[in-house]
Symmetry: C2
Subunit: 500 residues, 2 copies
């Protein structure tokens, strides 16, 4: 067997174990009884240990070396696969085993304390477990910096979004920072001059919301023979690509929030489903990056489903799904009203509730704080103040407490620093991809208004899903849209939607 073939075998084993862990994590978040947590944590930790053992097996280094020197024998996909293998191997082997163990323990401890600290607005309690975790995050950044020859924060970003660096992100974010504040003021001004949209009045029973969600998911192309829709505290997309499981949470007084979460997660799920079957369970067969993943959910939610065409298609289905409810405010289900509701803009404290106009401000705040923390310029103790200053600078708001301030997100508590930029990069990629799709598919708006999504999904399948990790994010975007990632499509989208 060639070194490359043996690598495929070993990475397939890793993927099987990763798939097992993914299902167990889904189960934990969606349906596990609370008393199962300790046993489940032990199961997942064991799978982590074994994957780390397989990944740091000395034989792997030899195999990678041997396969590298026979790259000429590989097909383009195999070649890309070897690159991805090497990339993962470098990440796993960059850290000494003791650091991996210490990091995992500290992150679990901090995340547990964070859950309590957030609900009781107790930053001091959080700080006590975050300080040692932050020290380990910085150690991790240094170790990965050495292994990749990247700046420390760039090396962390590389763990979520390989290829994107601060140099590029800074340019993009500076451009948005220059554009968004004035634009937001214009949007709010225009919005204030129109009467407020009507809110459909429930109750909207969960069973009816589920039925509507499932119907729209199927319409978009979700195959329930290869996936599920369930409930969890926070909506997410999990499982494996043969069995993609999305979740939402229902509010019987407002069906729109849950429905938009379902459509968002359906975008993630369709990406997973569209990955090439022949490269399944190989590194090159996985989704490209966090920003590309987010581009697929945001393209679905923001570009398609909050658009006037989709709303005009879906409004009668919504009306029908809840025919018993809302006999009072008939007008609430008029497409024009539902559309205005779907694109309502309101600066707020909480990132996950933010609209697409104010969302980048939340990200830019976190990005600036992460850079400062990794550089050693911002200490854990100073986070609340820095957060308040940043919210004032980016959104003109001052959170009333840390619960709606620096304690709102799980990421840092779980040790995830370098992840946040992916959200806004994803929004930009979504806008640029959708702009290209519109150019390539003449009838796209009419298709969407008619509930025909196959042409769009075919386009995305060709341009993004089926490419998996064959190209870098940057190359994939350039091949799909004809140019590197820029802010212009996103800005054009915002102007067209909110000011026209």
């Amino acid at each position: 067997m060639s070194a490359y073939a043996e690598l495929e075998q070993r990475f397939r084993r890793l993927a099987n174990l990763g798939g097992a862990a993914a299902v167990l994590q889904w189960d934990w978040a969606a349906i596990m009884p609370t008393g199962g947590a300790e046993a489940r944590a032990a199961q997942l930790a064991e799978l982590d240990v074994i994957r780390h053992e397989l990944m740091t097996d000395a034989v792997l280094a030899d195999l990678l070396g041997a396969a590298e020197s026979a790259r000429a024998d590989l097909s383009p996909w195999q070649d890309a696969n070897l690159t991805e293998m090497h990339h993962r191997w470098t990440h796993a082997n960059a850290l000494p085993t003791e650091l991996v163990a210490a990091f995992s323990t500290a992150a679990s401890a901090c995340e547990m304390v964070w859950r309590e600290a957030r609900s009781s607005n107790d930053f001091t309690a959080f700080q006590k477990t975050f300080e040692p975790l932050l020290a380990l995050i910085r150690e991790k950044a240094e170790a990965k910096s050495a292994a990749f020859g990247l700046a420390p924060y760039d090396a962390l970003i590389d763990g979520y979004d390989p290829g994107f660096k601060c140099a590029e992100i800074d340019v993009i974010f500076d451009d948005l920072a220059a554009f968004l504040p004035d634009f937001l003021a214009q949007v709010l001004d225009k919005q204030a001059r129109a009467p407020a949209p009507l809110r459909p009045e429930g109750p909207f029973p969960v069973a009816q919301q589920q039925a509507l969600s499932r119907a729209l998911m199927e319409r978009l192309g979700f195959d329930f023979d290869h996936g599920r829709l369930d409930e969890s505290h926070h909506p997410f997309c999990g499982g494996v690509s043969e069995d993609v499981r999305i979740t939402t949470r229902y509010d019987e007084s407002d069906f729109t929030t849950s429905l938009m979460a379902v459509l968002h997660e359906t975008g993630h799920a369709l990406y997973e489903r569209g990955l090439p079957a022949v490269w399944r369970r190989q590194p090159v067969g996985d989704a490209r990056s966090m920003s590309l993943h987010e581009s697929q959910s945001l393209l679905m939610e923001m570009q398609v489903c909050r658009g006037v065409e989709f709303i005009s298609f879906a409004a009668p289905l919504m009306r029908e799904a809840f025919s018993a409810a809302d006999t009072v405010a008939e007008g609430a289900f008029v497409p024009e009203n539902l559309h205005r509701l779907a694109i309502n803009v309101a600066p707020s404290y909480i990132r996950v509730d933010a609209d697409e106009v104010t969302y980048p401000a939340h990200i830019m705040l976190r990005y600036s704080l992460e850079k400062a923390m990794i550089a050693g310029d911002l200490h854990a103790a100073d986070l609340p103040g820095a957060w308040q200053d940043g919210m004032q600078e980016f959104l003109g708001l001052t959170p009333r407490n840390d619960t709606e301030g620096c304690l709102q997100d799980i990421h840092w508590a779980g040790g995830d620093v370098g992840y946040f930029p992916s959200y806004t990069l994803g929004a930009l990629i979504a806008a640029q991809l959708f702009e290209s799709a519109r150019r390539d598919i003449a009838e796209l708006p009419a298709d969407i208004a008619a509930g025909e999504f196959a042409p769009l999904m075919t386009w995305l399948g060709d341009a993004v899903h089926s490419q998996a990790s064959r190209y870098s994010s940057q190359d994939l975007i350039e091949r799909a849209t004809g140019r590197p990632l820029e802010t212009d499509a996103f800005k054009a989208h915002l102007k067209a939607r909110y000011l026209n």
Copy 2:
């Protein structure tokens, strides 16, 4: 670290991986979309391979040897744990790796073909994949025979029910074979002389059946913070002891079948929940054996829940749960009628539908065929004829086809030979345990009639659950009941229930 302590660490890893596999298997049977099967099979196979690797690691033999020679340092529980470790190690190391792989492949293939063959009554198709599997089962029996110094079929039984051998089972089954035919004739005669019980008439909506099931499970002591109730094609109890998941299947025209399945599985679940927390994830902390496990489900279902006291307690709850249904046949919910329904006896072709009087005949048939197959006296091709003869001999029935004959069970198709005796051993243990509990708890019948199950569960907790695998099945039974396993308690139970 002592050799024993290192063994504990290694077996804890194995238990974590086993727990992960158990949850993934539950998911497959209960909620997985069909398209996830291939990926899930790969995940489970990977976990099997890794557990086998850990179990056959040469270091383990050294550690076991070192721990054996320091047995004097161990506490009684540690000593029993070491014995269990050694027993598992011997099972795992008895088979050459190629046999493990060939067996696993053949069993998967045969099980897949069986699903189709059973529904299309195609024995020839089944035979084609069962023949090579049977050859491997016999090879496995020989290998385990050599490793344990047991007869080949005894060595297979040892994999499910350590300690029970044909010599002992033959005596028990011969005794039952002498008793049951006449007894059955008497029961059927007595039954025929009374008017048939009324069947409650549905529909019984699934949601109401679920609510009743959950209420009774909780009453028996099931804690939904540590478990779930779901649906699957065949009822089972899965998951891990911190998170025990039972399933049932609902029939809207008959709530009693599903409810009895729930109560049966609750017996399994309460055993898992009652295992000692300090020995969790160690071999000695696991349930003792298949027969002991079945004794706990049968004690709950057959001894308790089909008894007149339980039915008198539960009848009003059933009546209330389905208050909308069955307005016609009011009399159907009278306790005396429900009890007669619960203990109705009817010889039939299908084991899983059998009552407790005819169930042993189904097992004795399978036991005699398994013995003949392992001895080489019965070939796969001759199974249908032997089955027909056996059904005639044991129950006086002739199945009309193989679907309701030798193709009805999954066990052989999945490679499980030696498992069947556990069902009837479990029924005998249940009767003997329950007889002792009645003797030790003066108020037990009144308690059950009042819906008070704590005294019984405390007794079972002390005598069985909390003992886990500290003693052999035989010793556990003798300690709990004061004598070895006999058939008298079972026969006395049958006589009291069906002839008095």
